[in-house]
Amino acid sequence: MYPAPSVILFTSLSGIGFGLLAWLGTGHPAVTYLTAFTFFFLAYGLAVGGLLASVFHLGNKINAFKAFSQWRSSWLSREGIMAVASLLVMAPYAIGEIFFGQQWPLFGWLGAAGAVTTVFTTSMIYTQMQTVPRWNSPLTPVLFLLYALGGGALLAGQTGVAMLLLIALGLVQALNWYLGDGAFAAAGHTLETATGMAGLGRMRLLEPPHSSPNYLMKEMVFVVGRKHVRKLRMISMVLLVLLPVLILLLAPAAHVLVGIAVLSHLAGVFVARWLFFAQAEHVVGLYYDMR
């Protein structure tokens, strides 16, 4: 699948933003006044910034508001509703902390639950795609939730739990890469099933339907950079988990270093998210002899 920068930005930033909101809403940390403002500014900035980035991806932005209408069947619609709802529900909690120095836990916990649900709905947009076997796995939501909560904990300064979550994230991500590599073959789709002509012999593409790429190939058949996958996986693992955990372990109080841990983690998220798209093989590639 084409790793559109806007979608990578959106899923990465808003995921961490909602993760941070979930921690703030449950009082980890319980902050007030200026500190609270800084935290909520960051969390809302990431979440809303991510949502705006996703709007850039649309071909016909004028109709974006209609995306709230089909929650009965569409995970994308549910995500839109949950995102806006949790940002709204969290607002009174943020106002309480920032302006009145008080925690109103009802809003905080509701907002936190909403934030986690938002991340889950995002992950389901990808998980539901039977056409992309690598995504079509129960690990996908687990992974998205760990990304959000792990990154959120790191930003929220929850050192102990952040370390645990990041290590869990590293393990699940590695498992996800390992299982993902065999997912397409395991799903059993081949050119013969794609054409329904199994049993007639071996098939291969003789002539593509057209001489230059089309929308389908650009959007769903992305093969650039595959040869660097191993290196990119290593890089992302180091940035995502190893470096941040080391810093948290050795110098949890050094602000500059923790800042570096956050930036390193963020860079790791971008690399891993790029791989999440770039490596995902869509079954339509079978018709083009390209995956």
Binding site: N60, M203, N214, E219
Partner: protein, 251 residues
């Protein structure tokens, strides 16, 4: 409304005969012509006369080769357009309600006034039947020529999809798969019509009729195209040609 109807009154669709399709791409062009000039946004081309032209098409023809052991290789032309699936995943993923499946005839359509161009439905379709138009930024797909098949302003013989009407080989058949006695149901039953990628559980309406088995020309896997015909001619030559043949042998 992107919930799918539990059943549709008719199941209109195509039976595509891979035995007769000659891969001429006439259906591709006639589909583009009809659909760019009628319902909805036109099917744009970008850089049409440049180095890398890209365009929106609702129907495309792939060409494959099939090779079984000890048999000559065989060409398979494979036209592909929306299969109007009964469990259309492209419809349920749509967040705006632009995509829908009609209860009366099962045709899957996009209401272009509602589409926001997110492209999710194209991801959900296993067959590559949906293409986002680069100019209009909205999703285009085969309409089963809904603006022809019920259109009383055109002659009756034209009230079939443009691709069906155009195909010079008669490889595309249009009809109602819900009616077991319809032309397409009978054709599909006779010829063992197949679903594409059945494991995706989309329950496509369209059926593909596999190529008929080819005559085994040699039996030993070797094929010598001119020889059998030349030999046959020589052996049966009679009259003047027979005399000429014999005379020439003697020289």
């Amino acid at each position: 409304m992107t919930n799918l109807p539990s059943a549709t009154e008719k199941k209109l669709g195509l039976a595509i005969d891979l035995d007769t399709c000659v891969g001429c791409h006439a259906c591709v062009i006639s589909c583009k012509e009809w659909n760019t000039s009628n319902y909805g946004a036109p099917l744009s081309d970008v850089d049409a006369y440049g180095a890398s032209p890209v365009g929106t098409f609702l129907n495309r023809v792939h060409t494959f080769e099939i090779k079984a052991d000890n048999r000559p290789a065989q060409t398979l032309h494979f036209p592909k357009s929306c299969l109007h699936c009964e469990d259309a995943p492209c419809v349920t993923v749509c967040p705006t309600g632009a995509s829908y499946k009609r209860t009366q005839d099962g045709i899957v359509l996009v209401n272009e006034d509602d589409c926001m161009g997110c492209g999710l439905c194209a991801w959900a379709c296993p067959y590559g039947a949906r293409e986002m138009d680069a100019e209009a930024g909205i999703m285009k797909k085969c309409t089963l020529c809904v603006d022809r098949i019920y259109n009383e302003n055109i002659p009756e013989e034209d009230r079939v999809p443009s691709c069906v009407r155009t195909c010079p080989a008669g490889a595309r058949h249009f009809g109602d798969f819900a009616d077991p006695d319809s032309n397409v149901s009978r054709l599909s039953a006779e010829r063992g019509g197949v679903e594409l990628m059945a494991a995706q559980k989309t329950r496509p309406v369209n059926r593909y009729l596999p190529p008929r088995p080819k005559a085994d020309v040699t039996g030993d896997g070797q094929i010598d195209i001119p020889n059998p015909f030349l030999e046959a001619k020589n052996q049966t030559a009679k009259g003047f040609l027979g005399w000429l043949d014999k005379a020439l042998e003697k020289i």
